[in-house]
């Protein structure tokens, strides 16, 4: 049993938020949602956790352009053969979300893991700037 938080899951959790397209139109003929994201900070890194049900490691795409990190998850809407949809509360579609990273992140060492429809990004912080000693040579 959980001891920290036993509140019941709230209503809005079940609702997916659709991605607002500001100008750029999508070329894929499916809906696109904004995944819910938690971000927390540890001593060494920032951890971003995104809910993307229906996505596995092969259908997620992470790109970094300058300092904008974009996560894309692709879901092919599938339906069971020979069944008709009788009742629907959620829709299937892709996921997209972008974050602007600060310079304190080591872009080279970003890691991502997908498990049970949850994407976990580890964004390591840059180590403390090493003081460089510059020796002055005598001419």
């Amino acid at each position: 049993m959980m001891t920290t938080e036993t509140k019941d899951l709230q209503v809005q959790e079940a609702e997916k938020q659709e991605l607002a397209t500001d100008g750029a139109e999508r070329t894929r003929d499916s809906k696109c949602f904004v995944p819910r994201v938690d971000i927390y900070e540890t001593d060494e890194a920032l951890i971003a956790v995104a809910d993307m049900p229906g996505v596995d490691k092969d259908s997620v795409e992470i790109s970094l352009e300058k300092n904008v990190l974009t996560i894309n998850g692709y879901v092919e809407p599938a339906q069971p053969d020979n069944f008709n949809l009788a009742y629907a509360e959620y829709e299937m579609g892709d996921y997209q979300r972008s974050f602007t990273l600060s310079n304190q992140i080591d872009f080279e060492k970003i890691e991502a893991v997908v498990k049970d429809g949850v994407l976990r990004l580890t964004l390591p912080k840059v180590g403390p700037a090493k003081t460089r000693k510059i020796t002055v040579k005598a001419a």
């Binding site: 959790e13 079940a14 920032l46 949809l85």
Partner: protein
């Protein structure tokens, strides 16, 4: 609506789009009702139900829930989905910057339009989506009666 070239050979029948539209409309009305008086409050997890004459398939989006934390039970025509979504355990000194994902217990009960063959229920949890296959009980299926001439 724009379609990709290959869709010409495997495109969804037009009524599917109509059905989707109808669902959207229904949901729109349901939402305004729920704002007014809580006629239909959405619950967690969100589910989709697919049916045919031999049974039903229910899918539920449960990202990040451990399989051990999902409890499914079937009695007659009633299906109960119980579970817990565990939060990340933060170490000392770690702090949240943003918290949009919720945690806690969930409990949903559905009544199906038929009795379920409880022994043959299959549950698959894949990519954070639960797929439940609920075959209709043999005794519940309609019997064909042949009429004999006297």
């Amino acid at each position: 609506m724009f379609r990709r070239p290959f869709d010409r050979y495997s495109y969804a029948p037009p009524w599917r789009e109509m059905e989707r539209l109808q669902r959207e409309m229904n949901r729109l009305f349901a939402d305004s009702f729920s704002l007014a008086g809580g006629l239909t409050a959405p619950q967690y997890p969100a589910i989709n139900v697919w049916t045919n004459e031999d049974g039903a398939v229910i899918t539920a989006e449960l990202p990040g829930v451990n399989i051990e934390d999902i409890d499914i039970s079937v009695v007659g025509d009633t299906l109960t989905l119980n579970g817990t979504r565990q939060p990340d355990k933060l170490e000392e000194g770690e702090k949240y910057h943003r918290r949009e994902r919720n945690y806690g217990n969930f409990n949903r009960t559905f009544q199906l339009p038929f009795h379920v063959e409880a022994d043959k229920v299959e549950a698959i949890f894949e990519k954070g989506v639960l797929h439940l296959s609920l075959p209709r009980a043999e005794v519940d299926k309609p019997k064909k009666i042949t009429v004999k001439t006297a």
